[in-house]
Symmetry: C2
Subunit: 448 residues, 2 copies
């Protein structure tokens, strides 16, 4: 029996797709920049189905690449080995919200937006938000430990996960759930699967933590002439009570985006910082007090009602999508010590000028975590390879990490040793071998 | 060459101790309740020394049990196999505080109190506090993912760890550090070592996160006649802005302790709840407002200055030690869903009455996490075994975990399957085998 027939026996023929057009569409990353090749797409409808598919593929010596919402920014779902694509798209149950314990159980294929809506309907909020919310699945977000716009307040995706269902490469299913928050009964396996980019198992379901909705919210955009002054203000706000967002935007990226969505520039200055405080009590006055000593380029734009706040967020929310209009940008996602941010910004611009003179480097990111997204517009394929390698070297030299929140995927596997030591990588490989000795699951990501 | 000679060659003869009196003293848990036997005590002075000791012991087929401050409440450092005791007591460097990135690097053998002092001198606070602060080492606390009095605000020990140095069972040393907070470059190995109770490697050094010191603090003890009313108030405060402590104390435990330290009862009622709020702004009024609807047994005792706050904390701080005066209590450390706490409390008292009629069950704990410490005073060794097993069964039935913050150690290894599934334990064993195939490191803990 062929593998395709075996898979059809497990999930039903309708959920094993070999149509070349469909496979083609699933074998490219969402920017259209990176492409691979797949042999089949299989869509199991349960955790046990996922496990059975894994076992069948392992026994047939087929490679498997897992796909969620396919919003990876490091081409983490592009199949390189004529893989079977295992999609979580049918695992999208969204359970009831437990308002007492503030949690919800959802299938790995549920989108972020679906979870956010369920939380909101119960009067609660989910702790992670990011622009790809309508496509990104919570399974993929846990597998990559996604960050986003609220990390400064609630932490990353991993910090929202209270329990996991995971189908392991050997075809068993681990259910790791606890009705309570404190649990010191052995290894924290959940943390191992979070950020493992699907190399150790396939997350099929999650218990997610929800948070109370703050009663008051105030948002401001502050302009700065000097990046150091912005970083200084960011540092002061980073750990302040009630901090809810702390976003950097390059004024050039902001202007391009504002023009595209048809709004004006909110403030003067070469750099903009979006600050949001959210709390049980009104923080408007505290925000103004805290900004008194900041070296601003002019008056900040402050939003105290929802409409004004949405207008202030509009540019930051749209920036990644709008920059894509200029062709798929070359993306760098880096974490830096706050003290290195201004130096990195200047040096990275020089690198771009050297390797790709016509390209435009634009920055935005989450300053609370020192997490910068450098987007290089109009970087041709000729320059890409050299620029990428040079940038990785610069990041390492600045004391940063080659991946901050996008993961390693296929794009950064050659650079992982810039962030991790040899013994550390050897330990990672030992863990991989313990779970997946033949290395058939997500073979293209993480390890070079 | 004997193993002792080999070890002396690595760490120096002065640091390999075979004196039977010393070994006897190190082979018993600190309550004096559980005892084992050791062949030698070795005290390496560096991470490389620890790694070399491990390699030598592995090659000599000797078992190794790691010891930090030996404050385990689950007899986690009692050697059961004539083990070599590896002590981290010489790894106690306390580095400079980095006030910009709010972090400090310390040796695994540094005590919690030493880290707290270093943080305080730099105007910052460390996020974990517990009564054994003068003995407990940060290495042991990370290995057991210790909780304590501040979990409701800052999380557990694991959430304070930004980087680790770990000597692995194969004699290599992993340095996993990052100068920045966001880091998505491969497996979160640090999280695997945290809570692994030394079975996967020996933590030798840690980068620890520090927090800003809140400018204002207000503390209250509230009395309740009814445990459900206390739980309801605890739930309301659990996720409130600025919550800094939320501690339950059985009024009988409080009275015993108060008498012993020579203070009066702070409030009326059968159950007491210590609430602390800490923030940039004064929270006294907010606390009073939030207590308006609480079903209190009488007026709360409120402390707004440091002296009054210390007096309010005194009973909670001393309770574990004072109860020890009545002989080593039989200790249960459990997490429960808030909805199950009142039921568990009644049923556990019945179990004690049945199995050990002369014993006295007393409760205290961290209500924010549903974490109860049930201390059974005057439980004789005859009743212990049956009562322990019956209590574990009750905990599982109530939807709780058999270990909340003390870990599994040797005491609870037979009960781990009440909190984890078969596939889950199999995955844990696979990880253990990947790091320590011969199983020589901390052989008595975690796995039955």
């Amino acid at each position: 029996m062929s593998l395709t027939d075996t898979l059809a026996g497990i999930v039903g023929a309708a959920h094993v797709i070999t149509d070349p057009d469909v496979l083609d569409g699933r074998s490219v990353d969402h920017t259209g920049r990176y492409r691979g090749h797949a042999s089949a797409l299989v869509r199991p409808g349960s955790a046990d189905g996922v496990a059975a598919v894994l076992r069948a593929c392992r026994d047939a010596r087929a490679y498997v690449t897992v796909q969620g919402g396919r919003t990876s920014l490091v081409a983490g779902t592009v199949p390189e080995h004529d893989d079977v694509l295992l999609s979580t798209e049918r695992l999208r149950d969204v359970g009831e919200v437990d308002v007492v314990e503030r949690r919800i159980h959802v299938g790995a294929g549920a989108t972020l937006a679906e979870v956010q809506r369920a939380a909101s309907t119960a009067g609660l909020v989910f702790g992670v938000d990011l622009a790809a919310r309508d496509s990104a699945t919570v399974g993929g977000m846990a597998s990559t430990n996604a960050g986003g716009l609220r990390t400064v307040r609630y932490g990353n995706m991993g910090e929202q996960v209270l329990g996991l269902d995971v189908a392991l490469p050997d075809g068993s299913v681990v259910h790791r759930h606890s009705r309570v928050r404190r649990d010191n009964t052995g290894y924290d396996l959940a943390s191992l699967f979070i950020g493992a980019e699907g190399t150790l198992g396939v997350i099929t379901g999650l218990d997610l933590r929800l948070h109370p909705t703050p009663a008051h919210r105030v948002t401001a955009i502050c302009g700065f002439d000097d990046l150091d002054a912005l970083v200084e203000t960011g540092r002061a706000f980073r750990d302040t009570d009630g901090i809810a967002a702390l976003e950097l935007i390059d004024a050039r990226a902001s202007a391009l985006t504002a023009e595209h969505v048809g709004v004006g520039a909110p403030v003067d200055g070469a750099w903009q910082l979006l600050i949001e405080l959210a709390s049980d009590t009104d923080q408007t006055e505290r925000l103004a007090d805290a900004l008194e000593d900041a070296r601003l380029a002019g008056e900040p734009a402050v939003g105290v009602d929802v409409g004004a706040q949405q207008r202030l967020w509009q540019v930051r929310e749209s920036v990644a999508e709008v920059l894509g209009v200029y062709g798929p940008p070359l993306k760098f996602d880096v974490s830096l010590p706050l003290s290195a941010i201004a130096g990195f910004t200047a040096e990275s611009a020089e690198l771009v000028a050297k390797h790709a003179p016509d390209a435009i480097p634009l920055l935005f990111g989450h300053i609370g975590e020192g997490n910068l997204h450098l987007n290089v517009l109009r970087c041709g394929p000729d320059a890409e390879c050299e620029l990428y390698a040079a940038m990785m070297e610069l990041i390492a030299r600045c004391g940063g990490n080659v991946s901050s929140e996008h993961g390693v995927g296929t794009r950064k596997r050659d650079y992982i040793s810039m962030s991790r030591t040899e013994a550390d990588i050897a330990a990672m490989r030992a863990v991989k071998a313990a779970f997946d000795p033949s290395g058939y699951l997500n073979p293209a990501v993480l390890f070079a």
